[in-house]
């Protein structure tokens, strides 16, 4: 139980530290969210072989075409499930 609370407290501290730093006006920070999300997507998909990559690419293309986030997830999952079965 103490480990659960320690992890939660550590995360809370990390989140609060960013919010409580002085307001920085650095144009470079504009691209932090895009970079972090891209890094998380790439590392998550990078170690799984070609099948999830194909499914994710299909989802991304469909999502971009439809301009809807959920289309990306639904199409990605559908293609993934299809490729799993085949």
């Amino acid at each position: 139980m103490s480990e659960v609370l320690a992890v939660a407290a550590t995360l809370f501290g990390l989140r609060l530290s960013g919010l409580s730093l002085p307001r920085l006006r650095l144009p470079a920070f504009t691209f932090v969210p895009v970079s972090v999300l891209a890094a998380l997507a790439a590392t998550g998909l990078g170690h799984q072989g070609p099948l999830p990559l194909v499914a994710a690419a299909a989802g991304a293309l469909a999502g971009l075409r439809a301009r809807r986030m959920w289309v990306c997830i639904v199409v990605g999952l559908a293609v993934y499930a299809l490729l799993e079965v085949v």
């Binding site: 995360l11 691209f31 969210p33 998550g44």
Partner: protein, 210 residues
């Protein structure tokens, strides 16, 4: 608040299955249902919580070190929010408790960042994640197939959130540089360090091209 909450609902497609996966993994690792649900309520972080249950029996200091590296992007998210919103201390505590990258990404994608929209998105992700955890705990023995798919659903969700943000040359350059950096660093460094390095590289690339 409602706008942020509703905009987040598509991400429940990712949050619910990964929450279920965490519920299954937590019970399998020996956490009680109460501990697992409490963790989802307090920590609200899929990557950290899923890592936690796999490292449960390592020394606490190693566990916390891993959490620090995995959570290395959280101060950056806070910094990005602090750049756009001036928050009081009670607001800060609430925003910090519920802060997830997905919620920030969606709130930021809805135009200039507003506190009610951000809190709505955060609450939505919190609810979806905890609902998924509860479902996983309830279905511990029934749905191993969903746990198997979680490894794909989580990065797919990041990708879905990323797409609408890629609206400028700078953003595309940032995303590509960050992805490449994360893949290279990820071979040698813990996930959190790789993400932190990718944030620096991506920001530099984006600022250079913008």
């Amino acid at each position: 608040m409602k706008r942020g909450f509703l905009a987040m609902l598509p991400l429940w497609v990712g949050a619910i299955p990964s929450g279920i996966a965490f519920g299954l993994a937590a019970r399998a690792a020996g956490l009680s249902a109460l501990q697992a649900q409490l963790m989802s309520g307090l920590a609200v972080n899929a990557a950290v919580q899923l890592t936690f249950v796999t490292l449960l029996h390592t020394p606490v200091y190693l566990l916390l070190l891993t959490v620090l590296t995995l959570g290395a992007e959280l101060p950056l998210l806070g910094l990005a929010i602090g750049r756009q919103l001036r928050l009081t201390w009670p607001q800060r505590l609430l925003v910090a408790w519920l802060l997830t990258d997905g919620a920030y990404g969606v709130a930021a994608a809805l135009g200039p960042l507003e506190l009610p929209v951000l809190l709505g998105a955060e609450a939505s992700m919190f609810l979806g994640w905890n609902l998924g955890t509860a479902l996983g705990l309830l279905a511990v023995h029934a749905v191993p197939a969903i746990a198997h798919a979680a490894g794909f659903v989580v990065p797919l969700t990041f990708l879905a959130v990323l797409l609408p943000l890629m609206r400028s040359r700078g953003a595309v350059a940032a995303a590509l540089a960050a992805a490449a950096t994360a893949l290279v660093l990820g071979r040698a460094a813990p996930g959190g360090v790789a993400v932190l390095g990718a944030a620096v590289a991506g920001s530099a690339a984006g600022a250079w091209l913008a």
